[in-house]
C-alpha cells in the first residue's frame, strides 16, 4: 500500500511540469471557446443558487433552525452548496477527460491517472475562488468571524480524496462502458437531494436519519457549514461522522486507485 502511494508520488514528481501545464490548460480551455469566456464560471453557479434560494426561501418559505449558524438562507445555502459544486463538477468532468486526451494516452508516455489529478486540481482552484467569494459574503453580511474555520482544510482534503477515488473508478469504467455517463447524470441529480444542502437534516424524520448519514457528503456539507458559519454548538455525532468520513475517503481513494491501475492496462486498446 505504501509502495503504491510512493510510486504515485514519484509519478507526480516526474511529471510535475506536465501536470502544471495540464491544470492551466484545463482551467483555460473550459471556457476558451465560449463567447464570454470565464464569465460562465460565475454565471452558472449564481443562477443555480438564485433558483434554489427563490424556490426554498421565497416559495416554500423554509425557515432555518436556531443551530444553523446563520439566519440568512442564502448564506446557509451557499456554504452547503460550495462543496457540492466542487464534487459534481469534478465527477462530470472526470468522465470525459480520458477520452479527450486519448492521444496523450495512446501515443505518448503519460500516466493517465494524472489526468484525473489535473481535473481535481483545476477544480480545486475554482473551488478556492468560490470559497473566497462565499466567505467574504458571510463575513460582510453576518458580520461575524468563522471561529471554526480550522476544520475546513481537513474537509477539503477528505472531499478531494473521496472525489478522486470515485473519479478514478468511474472514468476508467466509462472507457469500457459508455453507459456510465448516463448513470452518473441520474445519480448526481438524485444525490443532490439526498444530501442536506437545500434542507436541514433535522427536518427529516428520526427514523430515516441513519440512512441520511451513510452519505459521506452529508458529513462534508455539515463540516463546511460548521467551519464557515458561526455555529454555536457542534451538531450531534459530528466527530463520529468525521471519523466515518476519514475512513470512507481513504478507502474509496485506495480502491479507486487500484481499480484504475487494473483497468488502465487496456486503455490504449480501448480508446
Amino acid at each position: 500500500m505504501i509502495g503504491l502511494a510512493r510510486r504515485f508520488v514519484d509519478k507526480i514528481v516526474t511529471n510535475r511540469h506536465m501536470l502544471k501545464c495540464l491544470v492551466v490548460r484545463e482551467l483555460k480551455s473550459r471556457y476558451a471557446d465560449s463567447l464570454i469566456g470565464s464569465s460562465w464560471a460565475v454565471i452558472h453557479p449564481v443562477a443555480t443558487v438564485a433558483t434554489y434560494t427563490f424556490v426554498f426561501s421565497f416559495v416554500l418559505k423554509s425557515k432555518l433552525g436556531q443551530h444553523a449558524g446563520t439566519g440568512n438562507f442564502l448564506l446557509w445555502l451557499l456554504s452547503g452548496i460550495l462543496p457540492w459544486f466542487f464534487f459534481s463538477e469534478t465527477m462530470q468532468r472526470s468522465l470525459t477527460i480520458l477520452i479527450e486526451n486519448r492521444t496523450l494516452i495512446t501515443k505518448s508516455v503519460f500516466p493517465s491517472e494524472l489526468l484525473l489529478l489535473c481535473n481535481l486540481l483545476a477544480n480545486l482552484v475554482k473551488h478556492g475562488i468560490m470559497f473566497i467569494i462565499v466567505m467574504s459574503l458571510i463575513i460582510v453580511i453576518d458580520g461575524r468571524l468563522p471561529l471554526m474555520l480550522f476544520y475546513l482544510p481537513l474537509y477539503v482534503v477528505l472531499l478531494s480524496l473521496f472525489t478522486i477515488g470515485l473519479g478514478w473508478c468511474l472514468s476508467a469504467a466509462y472507457v469500457y462502458v459508455r453507459d456510465v455517463g448516463q448513470v452518473l447524470n441520474v445519480v448526481i441529480g438524485l444525490w443532490f437531494f439526498y444530501t442536506p444542502i437545500v434542507y436541514e437534516p433535522s427536518s427529516i424524520p428520526e427514523g430515516l436519519q441513519p440512512l441520511l448519514r451513510i452519505n459521506p457528503l452529508y458529513h462534508v456539507v455539515q463540516g463546511y457549514r460548521v467551519a464557515m458559519l458561526s455555529v454555536q454548538r457542534l451538531p450531534d455525532g459530528f466527530y463520529g461522522g468525521l471519523i466515518y468520513l476519514v475512513a470512507l475517503s481513504v478507502v474509496i481513494c485506495l480502491v479507486g486507485g487500484i481499480v484504475f491501475k487494473y483497468l488502465k492496462q487496456d486503455f490504449a486498446e480501448m480508446l
Binding site: 506536465m18 501545464c21 495540464l22 490548460r25 471557446d33 495512446t106 501515443k107 469500457y176
Partner: protein, 450 residues
Amino acid sequence: MNNTTSAQAVSPAKAISVIGLSKKYRIYANSRDRIKELLSLNRHSYHQEFWALKDVTFDVNHAEAVGILGSNGCGKSTLLQIICGILRMTSGTVIKHGRISALLELGAAFNPEFTGRSNVYANGALMGYSRGEMDSMMPSIVEFADIGGFIDQPMKIYSTGMYVRLAFACAVVIRPDILVVDEALSVGDIFFQQKCFKAIRQIIDDGTTCLFVSHDMEAIRFLCDRAVILRNGEVDFIGPAVESINRYSVSLNIKKKYISTAPAPPPESDASCVETSMTPQDILAHNVLDNISTVDNDGRAVRHGAGGMMLLGLRVINEAGLDTLAVELMHSLDFYVLVKANETIIDPNVAVTLFDRLGNFVFAGGARQVGHRLPDMSAGDCCVVRLKLTFTVKPGYYTFGIGASEPTETATCYHDRFEGLGPIIVTFDETMELPFHGMTMLPLQVSNWI
C-alpha cells in the same frame, strides 16, 4: 544535450532489450461481449485471439539507430507501443535505459485550441522540461519549424504542413535519450525533409538511440545502422540496414507484377538539333531565380559568392521546350544560365548541383568538368550558358543549385552561387520496369556467350 552523454556514461551498453515479447489482442464482436466475459464466473470465452507479436527478441545498443520494417499489420506499431510502455505485453520482457520520447504520432501533446507556442511548452513539459528550460529551447524550435507568425496562433488554424513542422521541430530540438518515431520521417516539402534528415542524422551522431518505423526504405537506409524485419508478428531478419532492406524489398517485389517490361526510352542523342539560340531577354522573361523562393529556410543564405560574376537569370525547359522543373526519368532538362562579369574573369565555369530529398549530394558538374572552355570575360560582359542535364537518377524529388566560379592558383573562387532551388521532380511511368535500381545509372554493358 549534455544529459544524453551522461546517461550514456553510466548506463550499460544496451539501450533497449526486448526479450521474447508476445502480444495477444482479444477481439470482441461488440463491447457487450467484453463485459460478459469480465463478469462470467465460468471463464466462458467471448473473444477471438489475434497474436500481433510472437516471441520478438532484439537489442538496441546505445547511440544506435535501428529501423523496423514490415508490411501493414505486421505488428510494427504494436511493438513500438509496447516498448514505450503504452500497451501491455502478453508475455516477455522489455528493458529500457534512458528517457524515451515517443513520437508515435506527431504532436501527441498538442491541443488545437491552444497556440503553437503554448503547445511547444506542453510538449516539453510532457518530456519533463520546465518552462524555464523550454524558454532556452524555444528559439531553436521556432527557427526549425519556420512557420512565422503562426507560432502564436491557435493550432486549429494550422495547415497539415505547419502542424507537422512544429511537431517535428519539437522532437528534434528537445532531445531525449531514446527517440522513437513511427512513420513520421517523410513530412513536409522537400526542403523541410532535407532539414529533418539532417537534424535526425545529427541527433544520431550525437549519441541518441533511435528506433524508427517506416515504409520509407531509403530513409531507413540513410539513417539506420541495423534494421529488423517483422513478418506476421515474428522477427524475420535482423541485420545491417542495407541487408535488411534488400531482403525486405525482395519480399515486396515478389508480390508486384509489372504490366510491361519494355525498357524506358533511351536518352535522346540529337543534342545538336535542339541547339536554338537563347537570348538574355528570353531567360529573364522566364527567370526561375525570380519565381522560386530563394529565401533561406535553414537560417543560412542560399545565395552567396565573391561577386566577380553575377547569375542574372536561369531558365529551365524540358525537351519539349516548356518551362518546367518536372522531368521524366532518362530525359533531360536544359538549364540556360545568364552570367554577367563584374571584373575580368579568366576561364569561367558555370555548374549545376543536385541533392536528393535526404540531402545527399548527388551530382555537380559544369563546363570545366566536361572539358568545355567558356570564353574569358571582361567587366560588363554577359554570357548565356546552356547546361543539358539528363536525369539518370532514381525517380523522386531533388533540389538543385547553380554556380559561377573561376579557378585560382590554390582553389576555386565561387563568384555567385544559388542553393536549395527546386524542387525538380523526376517522374517515372510506374507500369514500366526501371532501367536501373539504386541512386543513379552507371554505364553498363551486358554481353553473353552461349
